[in-house]
């Protein structure tokens, strides 16, 4: 018998019992759609984490000053300035795996226009900061080196600040704002960056040259950096190396004895990102395995129905054998029936899975990502389930003795 012929016979047999075939398939439909929807949710979460870390900045290291310890009360990192401007220069120039390094000095201040005010975070930094954070200007320009050297009173605004002070449709470049009563000219507006994974609005910020910040907003220590150093490594592979090299460099520069604690800390954002990604991957695996269990249960349902079907159709099998069906014809017929059930379930389940993934995304505002390879894997797996669980009933059918089968009541 040709394979097309076998398929036709199998489909006919299944259509003779439409409701039963559908209910059997339903197990696989639910299994496959669950796998696809669960993986879509997991992948969506993973992509969201990736994006939020990417918006933090690529290959980012954050260097922070050390701690104070007064009368037994220990302050956190950054409470004692230990990083100097010389350290920053050394990081920039002496470590090859560092592409950019920028100081980040922060204060909270009120920003005034003629008729509006808004309290936001004001950061003193250098143009490298925007390179590290991969943050372009939408309008206007970044500050230039001469503006930094000269301590120019220029400012870059985040989109949220622009919205609060001027409204969404106004181009504020060239306008004046007052920060701590000092007039600044707006030279640019930064592109919208969105929220951090913690929900912090990156766009609610104003940036001024680091020199101006020190002179006009928050004076302070001449030699030390009263803030952080953001470091961008040359690639994601060199981030860890850069971290080790900066540690060595700073220990050396700060004359820290071997065995003594660092008087600074370095946070590796790439590491944090991969840790969080591992978390979402674990979740995806967990969800997918629970869904895979339901697919397995669907397979057992197929096996059950195929066994019932073989028993019910014992006489039919006997007759087919009597008129010339070989054992392998019978094997093929029942195997193809099981495969048809499971593949139909696979395809319908894939459709349902994709629809429910988008539905979940829409209904609950979850990020979902349907990966085509997961659809292929799920449908392929359902075929495997069909063959795996259909094999035993099919073998049982093919091994029937035609005489007993014909006499079966």
């Amino acid at each position: 018998m040709t394979s097309l012929e076998t398929l036709r016979v199998a489909v006919y047999a299944l259509l003779r019992n439409k409701l039963r075939s559908f209910l059997t398939t339903l197990g696989v439909i639910i299994g496959v759609s669950a796998v696809i929807a669960m993986v879509a949710i997991g992948e969506g979460a993973k992509v969201q984490v990736e994006q939020s870390f990417a918006s933090m900045g690529a290959n980012l290291l954050i260097v922070q000053s050390g701690t104070t310890s007064t009368g037994g009360a220990r302050g956190g990192f950054g409470s004692l300035p230990t990083l100097t401007w010389e350290d920053l220069k050394a990081i920039q120039t002496e470590i090859p795996s560092v592409r950019y390094a920028a100081p980040v000095l922060r204060a909270t201040a009120q920003v005034l226009t003629e008729d509006q005010n808004w309290t936001t975070s004001v950061t003193g930094t250098t143009p490298e900061y925007f390179e590290i954070r991969n943050w372009p200007v939408a309008r206007g320009a970044l500050f230039s080196q001469s503006e930094i050297d000269g301590g120019a009173k220029v400012a870059l605004l985040g989109q949220t600040v622009v919205d609060k002070l001027y409204g969404s449709y106004v181009d504020p470049v060239g306008q004046m704002v007052r920060i701590m009563n000092v007039p600044f000219q707006i030279v640019g507006v930064l592109a919208k960056k969105g929220q951090s994974s913690m929900g912090q609005d990156y766009d609610d910020a104003v940036f001024v040259p680091q020199t101006t910040f020190q002179a006009k907003i928050q004076g302070g220590l001449q030699k030390y950096i009263a803030g952080l150093i953001f470091v961008g490594a040359t690639s994601s592979e060199t981030t860890a190396r850069a971290q080790a090299q900066i540690t060595n460099l700073l220990r050396d520069r700060h004359h820290i004895q071997p065995g003594a604690d660092d008087d600074f800390s370095i946070r590796n954002l790439t590491e944090m990102a991969s840790a969080q990604q591992e978390g979402t991957e674990t979740m995806t695996t967990l969800l997918a395995s629970i869904a895979a269990v339901s697919l397995l249960v669907g397979g057992i349902g197929i096996m059950n129905i195929m066994l019932v079907s073989v028993t019910e159709r014992t006489r039919e099998i006997g007759l087919r054998m009597a008129v010339g069906a070989k054992p392998r014809d019978i094997l093929a017929q029942f195997l193809v029936e099981a495969l048809t059930l499971s593949l139909a379930g696979g395809f319908l389940g894939a459709g349902l899975g994709v629809v429910s993934a988008y539905r979940l995304a829409f209904q609950f505002n979850w990020p979902t990502l349907v990966r085509p390879d997961i659809i292929l894997v799920a449908v392929g797996f359902s075929a495997l389930v069909g063959v795996g669980f259909g094999l035993y009933p099919a073998l049982k059918a093919s091994r029937l003795d035609p005489i007993n089968a014909l006499r079966f009541e």
């Binding site: 016979v9 003779r16 054998m321 008129v323 010339g324 069906a325 070989k326 005489i403 014909l406």
Partner: protein
């Protein structure tokens, strides 16, 4: 129509069934020859071995000892697949309980052996329709078994047995589930086929049905008790009821 060649040669065939620890001997040294064109009735009480002999003749079972040559081919040592092919090409079966596929049209039922012979769909359909015309069911092609009487169902089964143009038709109690009038119809049809040259082996326990055969083999305790050739009684029903008989005879 007799004497046109040796079709079946059974030599000292024995069949022993093993049921747990007990061995049951169903056939003891049975030897039998059947020529092409014979109409043989095998009779005997239940347990006489007639069904076992029928199953071996029908290549549904293999003898434990002895030889069986069907049309010159030794089929006693063939594999299950080879036997399936022999059944498909050379034998046609008619059963007591018809054994038609439910919810399947007459044409599809008759076409079943052709399906396993690898005959393409349209040839299959045409040959199945021809066979149904031959048994007088040309107007019932698309009917399902549940829409037909017992006699019609048995005629569909006979059409299925004929469709591969076999060398031998094996009928196992073909009238066992039918009333006397319908039984007569079926016997008339079988006799028409026989007259047209077909070899038929029929198992029955009714002596009046066996009278329509040209040879009666009686079995007892796994042995052949008697084997007599004689003039077959002619089966006939009113030709008004049996248009097929005329068709086949012509």
């Amino acid at each position: 129509m007799e004497g046109s060649g040796l079709l079946i040669l059974v030599q000292q065939v024995g069949k022993v069934y093993r049921m747990g620890d007990v061995e049951v001997t169903a056939l003891r040294d049975v030897s039998l020859t059947i020529e092409a064109g014979e109409f043989v009735a095998i009779m005997g009480a239940s347990g006489s071995g007639k069904s076992t002999l029928m199953n071996i003749l029908g290549c549904l079972d293999r003898p434990t000892s002895g030889d069986y040559l069907l049309a010159g081919r030794d089929v006693s040592q063939m594999s299950r697949s080879e036997l399936a092919e022999v059944r498909n090409r050379m034998l046609g079966f008619v059963f007591q309980s018809f054994n038609l596929l439910a919810r399947t049209s007459a044409v599809e039922n008759v076409g079943l052996p052709l399906q396993y012979a690898g005959v393409p769909y349209y040839d299959r359909r045409q040959r199945a329709e021809e066979a149904l015309h031959q048994v007088g069911l040309g107007d019932r092609l698309q009917h399902h078994p549940s829409q037909m009487s017992g006699g019609q169902q048995q005629r569909v089964a006979i059409a299925r047995a004929l469709v591969m143009r076999p060398k031998l038709i094996l009928a196992d109690e073909p009238t066992g589930n039918l009333d006397s009038h319908t039984s007569m119809e079926i016997m008339t049809l079988l006799q028409e086929l026989w007259r047209a040259g077909m070899t038929i082996v029929m198992v029955t326990h009714e002596s009046d049905i066996a009278e329509y055969a040209s040879r009666v083999v009686v079995m007892k305790d796994g042995r052949i008790l008697s084997d007599t050739r004689r003039e077959a009684r002619i089966a006939s029903v009113s030709s008004l009821l049996m248009p097929a008989a005329k068709e086949v005879a012509s």
